[in-house]
Amino acid sequence: MSVISPAVAPGHEEAAQATPSLARRTVQVFTRNKLALAGVVVLVLLLLFCYVGPLVHPTDQVHTDLSQASLAPGAPGHLLGTTDLGYDLVGRLMVAGQSSLEVGLAAGVLATLFGTVWGAVSGYFGGWVDAVMMRVTDAALAIPAMFLLVVVSAIITPSKTILILIIAAVAWLSPARLVRGEALSLRDREYVQAMRMMGGGGARAVFRHIVPNAIGTVIVNATFQVADAILYVSYLAFLGLSIPPPATDWGSMLSSGITYTQNGYWWMIFPAGIAIVLVVGAFNFIGDGLRDAFEVRLQKK
């Protein structure tokens, strides 16, 4: 075979070396993004604070102590003071953070999963299935989330599970639309056509080609979804829907702290508020970094 000269090999090796593995490239690009790194650091610190913190700084977050209520920061044993019911604020931030993160993560992931399935099915099958499924999405989108939440908050008795479900019910729309778009474009890709030409069916197209290729979008979106879900938790608290006491979350701490704005009890407002901003911001930074990282792969032709 003279046409295929052995000299091809060195060129090929070179080409292979020039492009490191996908995962490594993704990590590389991600770590180059300083904000994304900052996001990871903040998130890790917050996780440590919420989950390891209580071991280091154990407090009673179940029994109220009215004699210790509303102590200002610096009071003995209470670095950040106490809440209006005498809970130690630092300890309270820790337990609240756990709920916020858990609810946010669970809701974000649930919304993404459901949305991805909904979107993939809608986009892949197209036609009237798509039309019906998308009209439902449109309708749900046409009612602004807050309006829906206000009505729901007038109906629902909250618990962690319920909060997760409510948030997921509001949040699945955006991944659904996104994944549908991806699925629509992916199903016409030549490699999907090639696969169909070999006799492959719809399931294979969806699970071997469409979903894996949409995974970047899905992961990035999931990150933003978690961020949004944590925000939603705080909005629900603002609307009066929060985890039943004595459990709490940052949103509830913030919105009950608002009551004391006028008293100058800043420690009941800002730590929780800042915690929300930090964690949501961190997830957004990370999502942004991930998007860059995944986009690099897509740009690479």
């Binding site: 904000l35 309708a139 046409a142 206000v150 925000l231 407002i269 508020g273 930090l278």
Partner: protein, 316 residues
């Protein structure tokens, strides 16, 4: 063009129909129905029965829904249980206010976000970009009510320059006569939008900067600044219209929180109060109007987009 419009309108109708169903079902999930909420703990069983009878709550759900649709078809949105006014007259007073708030906030946001985004794109990877990006994400990460609270604490309490309450007058004119009261609500709403739009402008500008027509313009001897202003800006701004359409629900959501924070007598506040008091006709009416506004809004932005973008405009 008409074909497209008819199709979009039909879709919009279907969507609205679904919206009413969703809201209708949601409301009827309320235990005790509105009677308890309206009549309070002192409401006697007879009164409750009478109320349910008069309001038709004893009928099966589909019948109630059908009645609702029929009334809707006659332009009758019902009477508020609490406010002793018809829902349509309530909406007539409140909707314009919400529109003023959202439109002003959007104008402010766009006016700020566009140059910010451009600046970030031009300074890509420089400290200014990082700073503004971080700022945008943090602004986005701040719950609107927390943001509003901070603004109130700073600009109304610590340095009392702006009132913490929006103008209360019934007329539209009163909004403008007491405009200082609008500053904080508008700022609260605008900040979040700025965060999103500036991110969009940044990436749209970056995308356009890599387009070949930019190189062509440079090859003509055009300066970078004018290329940005004459060529890139226009191409990046047109899709912003669509983005606005997509953001309508978010805008309304923001308006709801801002209105209830600043006691601004718009639709969001109306809705909020109605929800507290189970004022079903108002809840249904507002949701319907918001749904219509959202659907029509995105329809309009689609059309505006098409009119602005010559690529789509001239196909018709």
């Amino acid at each position: 063009m008409t074909g497209f419009l008819v199709k979009r309108l039909l879709q919009a109708l279907v969507v609205l129909f679904l919206v009413t169903i969703i809201v209708f079902l949601l409301l009827h999930a309320l235990p005790g129905g509105p009677a308890r909420a309206i009549l309070g703990p002192k409401g006697t069983p007879q009164q409750i029965a009478h109320f349910n009878e008069v309001q038709g709550y004893n009928n099966p759900l589909p019948v109630q829904y059908w009645d609702y649709l029929v009334r809707l078809f006659h332009g009758n949105l019902g009477e508020s249980y609490k406010l002793n006014e018809s829902v349509s007259s309530l909406l007539g007073q409140r909707l314009p206010k919400t529109l003023i708030l959202t439109v002003l906030a959007t104008i402010v946001a766009v006016a700020v976000a566009v140059p910010l985004g451009l600046l970030q794109a031009v300074r890509r990877g420089k400290p200014a970009d990082y700073l503004l990006t971080a700022g945008a994400f943090l602004a986005y990460a701040t719950p609107v009510f927390f943001l509003g609270l901070i603004l109130i604490i700073v600009f109304s309490q610590a340095i009392p320059i702006f009132p913490a309450e929006a103008p209360q007058g019934t007329s539209i004119g009163s909004i403008f006569s007491g405009f200082s009261g609008m500053i904080l609500p508008i700022a609260t709403m605008a900040l979040g939008i700025i965060a999103m739009f500036s991110r969009y402008m940044r990436s749209a500008t970056l995308d356009n900067l890599t387009e070949e027509y930019v190189r062509t313009a440079m090859a003509k001897g055009q300066s970078s600044r004018r290329i940005l202003a004459k060529h890139v800006l226009r191409n990046a701004l047109i899709p912003l219209v669509t983005l606005l359409g997509l953001y309508l629900p978010t805008l309304f959501s923001g308006a709801l929180v801002v209105e209830s924070m600043f006691n601004y007598p718009g639709m969001g506040l109306l809705f909020w109060n109605a929800a507290q008091g189970s004022d079903f006709p108002v809840l249904l009416g507002v949701t319907l109007v918001v749904g219509v506004a959202t659907v029509v809004g995105s329809l309009v932005t689609d059309i505006v987009y098409a009119v602005l973008d010559p690529r789509i405009r001239s196909v018709s």
